[in-house]
Symmetry: C2
Subunit: 279 residues, 2 copies
Amino acid sequence: MFVFFNGSILEEDKVRISPFDRGFQFSDGVYEVIRYYPKKFFKLDLHIDRLKRSLSEIEIPSPAFDDLEFLLMELISKNNISEELSTAYIQITRGYQYPRRHNYSNDLVPTIFISVEKFPRKKDEMIDGIKVGIGEDTRWPRCDIKSTMLLAATLLNHRAVEKGLSELILHRNEKITEGTHTNLCFVKGNSVITPPLSNFILPGITRKVVLELCKVHGINFTEREISLSELAEFDEAFILGTTKEITPIIEIDGVKTKFNKPGHVCRKLQTEYSRLYNG
Amino acid sequence: MFVFFNGSILEEDKVRISPFDRGFQFSDGVYEVIRYYPKKFFKLDLHIDRLKRSLSEIEIPSPAFDDLEFLLMELISKNNISEELSTAYIQITRGYQYPRRHNYSNDLVPTIFISVEKFPRKKDEMIDGIKVGIGEDTRWPRCDIKSTMLLAATLLNHRAVEKGLSELILHRNEKITEGTHTNLCFVKGNSVITPPLSNFILPGITRKVVLELCKVHGINFTEREISLSELAEFDEAFILGTTKEITPIIEIDGVKTKFNKPGHVCRKLQTEYSRLYNG
């Protein structure tokens, strides 16, 4: 597999992340996952904007991303996946620092790693829907930064999967935030409802695109606080994410929902979303 | 520099952490820092116990640590620092996983990395004391696990250092938790006061040793919740940590304290602490 590492395209087993990279010792880095629909990266500009913001929030100097699209296409091509639904993964850390200290100097050289991967859609989940659970959001209060400080999210995700659940509806003090790596939407009547952007929520690209689709297609939407107690009243629910796109929720563990199959608002948005990358 | 990596002692630049190591992509790992006072590692058994607990809490299988002391001494010797005040750093991650997914399989092979380093005491800080600030604790609510999910702590630490402060007194809703990588103690009258162990606090080895010293030497101590508003009433304050040992606080940014130099309880504990490793 060919990857990009600090300026060069090379075989993955030639990459050497130092054990003194702050990304390894301090989770001191940020990342993005970008969808490749043959033959184009979807909303690349929005992903770059968010990556720059994440870097800025934790004060890692941002590289120039002028030739990023060219580079990503090169990786796709070198790995022979030009015709495949794929993803690119970009991780930037604060870089190597020795000796290990919590505090960092401001002149470290960031580590940049990019890989691409053939990544098929989970069609069954997108068509039939998924079962989710409810969990307490045990992440830090800056989830608006897409950092690699992901242990909390992965533990939550793993424990959900072990129970046969595909995702979790996370909450802080009974207020719904997001999934372990997705944003959440609900439908009441014909209105889409989603938690407002805040320090507790990643400003999802899919979330942004879906809210724009609502606007274009005359679907009401509201960004507001949502309590766990409202889950029983909703007519539809779905998760949003770069690879999940729009995936319907058909069951919430422990909640008697009004729905048990994907709803028509979800189907409409799925159709319109797919037009964006097929068109 | 010789380090230990997955079963072998080798030169640091021969170590290759994969970019798909979950320690790099998900901060999915734990660590310990252990003090070496020539010619012995201090409280190694307590550090191993804590490491095992951290691993267990995030469900990474624990290696056998039977020959750890021998291995650490070997590293000290190979790096020619047998006569030097030093530290050992141990990091264990969940290991390599491809492709990158939040969820992990239960059969990954943990990555084990150990380095040793000549690490002098900050004598001036221990003698003259330090200036600290106050900050909101923005870490996750499982600080009892010594995980590498440290971005929050390092950002807090860096911003403090930029302001000329050595540490921060962190709080959640005005209740004091700990420093960015130390535990905190205060003195009122002749009593030592420290926040009780909880999910918000690392069970510090130095903290444990100091509380035992209090017991042995007839110094009152209380583990109880402490409010920020109490800071103005204390007669002494100090931080505790593996390398900081017992370091007095002489100034708290923004607080008119009753002290401006190290107090006698701190001095007594410093003396008794140094006897433990000199004896």
